[in-house]
């Protein structure tokens, strides 16, 4: 990182294991990354790769097995309940499902105002209502919905309520966990534009968790590709798409069906399905599905290697594959 002072969040060798009847589930297994102020890091991967677990670890909703999460230099993993409570006004989350993340018994005004009351940010009902009205205006919710209940709203408006709630404490950092994947495309575009506007207006930093590569390319400055609990490639958004190094990132990119009559889908560039994250063998976790796997891919864990221009990749053959006609 060029300027250490700019870094708002740094994750160091983060691990989270869950015990399961059949063994230990390695949900997050030695992840390192950092995010600078005002930036958006897109975290991409398939379901079950551990991306949401990282989001929850950052908010202190899970206790990490080991590793450090430094937010403005302070380790979240070592905070007590009181410190975590105070932290929430700087760190917020927008959840994927706007249907299950809003309390059905609370009105929209109550939902958006609740964080303000919990953190004693407002004094008196008039101030609370004024602040809630302001937030609703910021996210484009009409004022008449103040007394409405979540079931009266469609998915797009509900997600706006979730965003208003996350914004209410004026946070510096927001974890967006698949904020648009349950929305229709036309509504999805409205919400993405809103999130971008808010970032510019309030200087927000986002960790944007998604499985949708076209959304992440549009939205993020940097992208981290995750596979079975580990990062396999990180790079600037345009760099990752132009100069893909890891066979898994390549497979993900090739799998997106292009909405065009001229671009036909390429052959699928991977074998089989996601392996189990329970007690994984050492070595590259993608090796079993990789078309280019060699003997040296198994046996020992692979760390991210620097390929210049902020491009890191964990594949032991990265760079060598560029000449392969099937690659790219």
């Amino acid at each position: 990182m060029a300027d250490k002072n700019d870094v708002i969040l740094e994750v160091r060798n983060l691990k989270k294991y869950f015990k399961s009847p059949t063994g230990t589930l390695h949900a997050v297994d030695g992840v390192n990354f950092s995010i600078r102020k005002g930036e958006t890091l897109g975290l991409v991967g398939e379901s079950g790769c551990g991306k949401s677990t990282i989001g929850r670890l950052i908010l202190g909703l899970h206790q990490a097995t080991s590793g450090e999460i430094l937010f403005n230099g302070r380790n979240i993993c070592e905070m007590n309940k009181k410190q975590l409570h105070a932290l929430r006004s700087d760190l917020q989350i927008i959840f994927q499902d706007p249907f299950s993340s809003l309390n059905p018994r609370m009105s929209i005004g109550e939902i958006i105002g609740e964080p303000l009351l919990i953190h004693n940010k407002v004094h008196g009902k008039a101030e609370l209502n004024a602040e809630v009205a302001r937030l609703m205006d910021v996210v484009g919710l009409s004022a008449r919905l103040f007394n409405a209940y979540p079931h009266e709203l469609d998915g797009g408006r509900r997600q706006r309520v979730g965003i208003a709630r996350a914004l209410s404490l004026k946070p510096q950092f927001i974890v967006c966990d698949e904020p648009v994947s349950s929305l229709d495309v036309s509504i999805q575009a409205q919400v993405l534009n809103l999130l971008k506007d808010l970032q510019a207006e309030f200087g927000l930093t986002y960790l944007f968790i998604t499985h949708d590569l076209s959304v992440v390319k549009f939205f993020s400055d940097k992208i981290a590709v995750m596979y079975l609990g580990q990062l396999v490639e990180t790079a600037d958004s345009t760099e990752l798409f132009q100069n893909t190094l890891h066979p898994y990132s390549q497979a993900l990119l090739s799998a997106i069906p292009a909405p065009s009559s001229r671009q036909k889908m390429q052959r699928v560039k991977l074998i089989g399905e996601l392996q189990s994250p329970i007690d994984p063998e050492p070595g590259c976790r993608f090796a079993k599905r990789c078309l280019y796997a060699k003997e040296r891919c198994t046996g020992q864990d692979l760390a991210l290697r620097d390929f210049g221009k902020g491009h890191f990749c964990a594949c032991c053959q990265a760079g060598e594959l560029a000449g392969n006609p099937n690659f790219n």
């Binding site: 229709d184 575009a189 799998a255 069906p257 909405p259 699928v268």
Partner: protein, 356 residues
């Protein structure tokens, strides 16, 4: 393509201009479906015309609540009544009006001539029967054959979708999501149907698995020459699998044509809006161009063009009269007054000419 030409080829009233094609397999005309609840009537499908030729695959694209699934369920008469009711229209399948068919006849058609693939493979499979037996059940329902023959044929089907025969006796919970969807696909092709209705078959799957399933569906389509009605909200999926596409909005088709026609030069403002809403992988845009507003309430649909309240080009006339489909050249049809020359929308025309 100029505007006058489009007027001349306007569709005759009551029938779509493509309805007379000799190799038509499915022909839906002026379908209207309503759901009656205690308080309201939901107008789910409002005068829908649709045809699918033999061996053709048609993508039906639309957002939540557009009426896509209702259309597919109507074809098989699977709309729950009450609250649903097919109030008007005709559905012709191989020269037979499905809306007049007796329950016994419908049972014969379902699964053997027309089969369905639903979105969620977890709920389409019975958890207490082995996957092989579930496929064999479909075969025994429609064909006279011995247990051994059924078992052999079901095993063949598993292999055709890329699942080893050895897994015949396993249960759904032992399969991953992608594999379960393969089993459902095997069930749907077991009796060599003429038509497969696939309702968001890959929406519940991860992109890499989706790509594998789409590849399988394309292969099977080539091999078996089955017609396909693919319902999805994903324009990418349609472009990769289908020959033709129909864009649906608020219970009616607003634009249809071949993939090249619609994807290269979308005509309807809604279709243009849909394309503007998806982030592109090729170019870096600072902002998306979303469609403003929300889908109309299906209990009180706007008069005239249903898209008018959200349309940046709409004029008073759009809100006053129901709009018919007119030709935009070739097999390309569009339901928009601007394209009929009723009013001038130079910006829209520029957008159309520019294409994608």
């Amino acid at each position: 393509m100029d505007d006058k030409k489009k007027l001349e080829t306007a569709a005759p009233e009551g029938s779509a201009p493509y309805a007379q094609a000799p190799d038509t397999l499915l022909d839906i005309r002026d379908l209207r479906v309503e759901y009656h609840t205690d308080e309201d009537v939901v107008y789910a499908v409002n005068g829908l015309d649709l045809t699918i030729g033999k061996g053709e695959s048609l993508g039906l694209v639309g957002e939540t609540g557009a009426g896509k699934t209702t259309t597919a369920l109507s074809v098989l008469r699977l709309i729950a009544d009450p609250p649903g009711k097919i109030v008007d229209g005709e559905i012709w399948f191989e020269g037979e009006n499905m809306l007049r068919a007796k329950p016994g006849r419908l049972r014969e058609i379902r699964g053997s001539k027309i089969s369905v693939i639903f979105q969620d493979p977890m709920t389409s499979l019975n958890p207490v029967y082995s996957v092989g037996d579930q496929i064999a059940e479909v075969i025994h329902q429609h064909e006279k054959c011995s247990r051994e023959e059924g078992r052999k044929k079901a095993g063949d089907m598993l292999e055709m979708v890329g699942i080893p025969r050895a897994r015949y006796d396993e249960y759904p919970h032992q399969f991953s999501g992608g594999m379960k969807q393969r089993v459902v696909i095997a069930m749907s092709i077991a009796c060599s149907p003429e038509l497969i209705l696939a309702d968001e078959p890959t929406t519940a799957l991860d992109v890499t698995i989706q790509a594998q399933v789409l590849e399988l569906m394309s292969e099977l389509k080539e091999k078996l020459r089955t017609s396909l009605l693919l319902i999805t909200h994903d324009l990418g999926v349609v472009a990769q699998v289908c020959d033709r596409v129909a864009i649906m909005y608020a219970g009616e088709i607003v634009e249809s044509g071949t993939i090249a026609e619609v994807f290269d030069h979308p005509h309807h403002p809604y279709t243009i809006g849909l394309f503007g809403s998806i982030p592109s992988l090729d170019e870096t845009a600072e902002k998306l161009k979303p469609i403003r507003g929300q889908m109309p309430d299906p209990t009180v649909l706007p008069e005239g063009c249903a898209f008018a309240p959200r349309c940046p080009y709409a004029v008073e006339t759009c809100r006053a009269q129901r709009v018919e489909m007119t030709s935009a050249g070739g097999t390309h049809l569009v339901r928009c007054l601007a394209h009929q020359g009723v009013f001038q929308a130079p910006e829209l025309m520029e957008e159309v000419r520019h294409g994608r």
